[in-house]
Every structure is written in structure tokens, then in C-alpha cells.
């Protein structure tokens, strides 16, 4: 089995803790050698996933917890955000996500409509599991290791 380190955090399903998780992922990703741009992408993606879970808990009138897991692999970071709340209409969430197009009237724009779209745009792989609560599993690869093998690049990693 592939070797990896695992870090887990449990936070209250409250908006004020989104920033705490952002600081954590920033630390983990920079420890792994992700570049500045990728770390910023990871911060946005994880915040979107947690914001969804917080909104969901809030709508259900549930002040539960969110579990965040970080799988630190040689070549990638896997991030899991699990919200143990009740059931959730995945089709509804997936329906109509995408960037704004000019043909769309401004009045139709949904204020909360870009979260999942951004996760998809910023991460390399995204899976959503809806069997028990909602689990978002997203992966970002460390491409620098491959770039290091390219003749056109001067590798600074040893």
C-alpha cells in the first residue's frame, strides 16, 4: 500500500473556523513543497467545501461538527471534508454549476452558486459522496517533482 501521512481535524460547523482550516492547509501544503499559486488554490477549495458544510448545518438547524482530513502523499495532497449532517440533494447542488455566460440575465445569478464550481476549477480531482452526510474528497498533485526531470528546467530540489 502506498505510504502516506494522515492529519485529521474536527471543527465546529461555524463560519469563524473556516480561516483556521485555511491556515492549516497552508502549513501542510507549504511543508510538502507546493508553490504559492497552488497553496492559494488549496485555500480557496477547502474554504468552499467547509462553507458548504457550514451552510448545510445551519439550514438543518444543526450545530454539528465538520471533520477535515489531509492525506499527505509523496506526489499529492488529498483533502477530505465530511459533514455528518442529514441527507442532501446532490443533484440540486450539482445542477447549474458553472461560470457566468453573457446570455444569462444578471437577475438569475445565484449568490451562492460558485462554490462547487471553484472547487472543480482549482483542484485536479474532486469526488462527492453523499451516502452518509456529505463527503467531499479533493486531490491536488505536486507537479514540481515532474518538472524537475524536464531538461528545459533547472531543478532546485535535491
Amino acid at each position: 500500500m502506498e505510504k502516506f501521512d494522515f492529519i485529521e481535524m474536527r471543527i465546529p460547523a461555524k463560519a469563524e473556523y473556516v480561516g483556521v482550516v485555511r491556515l492549516s492547509i497552508s502549513g501542510i501544503a507549504s511543508r510538502m513543497g507546493f508553490n504559492y499559486e497552488d497553496i492559494e488554490d488549496l485555500k480557496v477549495a477547502i474554504s468552499e467545501a467547509i462553507t458548504n458544510a457550514v451552510d448545510h448545518a445551519y439550514r438543518e438547524g444543526d450545530d454539528g461538527e465538520i471533520t477535515v482530513g489531509f492525506g499527505v502523499y509523496e506526489n499529492r495532497l488529498e483533502v477530505m471534508v465530511a459533514d455528518h449532517g442529514g441527507s442532501f440533494n446532490l443533484q440540486e447542488i450539482k445542477g447549474g454549476i458553472g461560470p457566468y455566460t453573457r446570455s444569462e440575465p444578471v437577475e438569475n445569478l445565484r449568490e451562492g452558486g460558485f462554490g462547487l464550481f471553484l472547487i472543480n476549477a482549482l483542484m485536479d480531482k474532486v469526488e462527492i459522496n453523499n451516502n452518509y452526510g456529505v463527503i467531499v474528497l479533493m486531490t491536488k498533485y505536486l507537479y514540481e517533482t515532474e518538472v524537475g526531470l524536464d531538461d528545459d528546467q533547472i531543478s532546485t530540489t535535491q
Binding site: 463560519a15 462553507t51 455566460t101 444578471v106 451562492g112 452558486g113 464550481f117 471553484l118
Partner: protein, 110 residues
């Protein structure tokens, strides 16, 4: 993890100076500051984002609702001095097509 909001309000134009991060925690306060200003017909609301070092879709949501409000009342919303990371989110989502964004970035690396 905080957001400081400073508003300088004049007759025809308000300038909102933001410092910090726009996320699920800080966005509601930003929304309740911006919306009343956009509800004045003919008013220009300029948001200076130079010191916003983090924003996610909750921030996009605030600016979408502000934009809708300007369409209803005939006011104007303008975002200025965006850091490249922040302006990237407007581009990815296509919102740069409908929101007035000043792309001249001071001290940016684009």
C-alpha cells in the same frame, strides 16, 4: 482572518477600503455595509481591494448581490486595485464580464 471595512461617504460616491480576508465569516458584514450604499440612485460605490489578500465564492456572492442592487436602483459598483489572486476568481467565474473591475493593478505581478 479578519476584515476591516472603512467607508468614506460623499454625496455622489462612496469609497470602501477593505483590508484582510473575505470569507464565510466576514462576508455577511461586508454585504450589510455595501448593500445600503448601492440602494441610492445615482450613487457610485467604489471598493478598493488592494489589501484584500484572500477571497472566495462568499465574496463573489456579496458582489453579485451588490451588482443586482445597482441594476435595480440605478447606482454603480466599481472594484479597484485587485490583487492577481483575487482578480483570477472573477475571471474563472466569468464575473469580470459583468462587474466593473479596474484591472490596473498596483504592485501586482500580472
Amino acid at each position: 482572518m479578519e476584515l476591516t471595512i472603512d467607508v468614506v461617504k460623499q454625496d455622489m460616491k462612496s469609497v470602501i477600503q477593505l483590508t484582510g480576508e473575505i470569507d464565510a465569516y466576514t462576508a455577511p458584514r461586508l454585504k450589510s455595509t455595501i448593500l445600503p450604499l448601492t440602494e441610492e440612485s445615482g450613487h457610485t460605490v467604489e471598493v478598493d481591494m488592494e489589501d484584500v489578500n484572500y477571497m472566495d465564492s462568499t465574496g463573489l456572492g456579496v458582489f453579485i448581490s451588490a451588482l443586482k442592487s445597482t441594476k435595480e436602483t440605478g447606482s454603480h459598483l466599481k472594484l479597484v486595485n485587485l490583487q492577481s489572486r483575487v482578480s483570477r476568481l472573477f475571471k474563472i467565474t466569468g464575473l469580470d464580464e459583468i462587474i466593473d473591475i479596474d484591472t490596473a493593478i498596483r504592485g501586482g505581478n500580472e
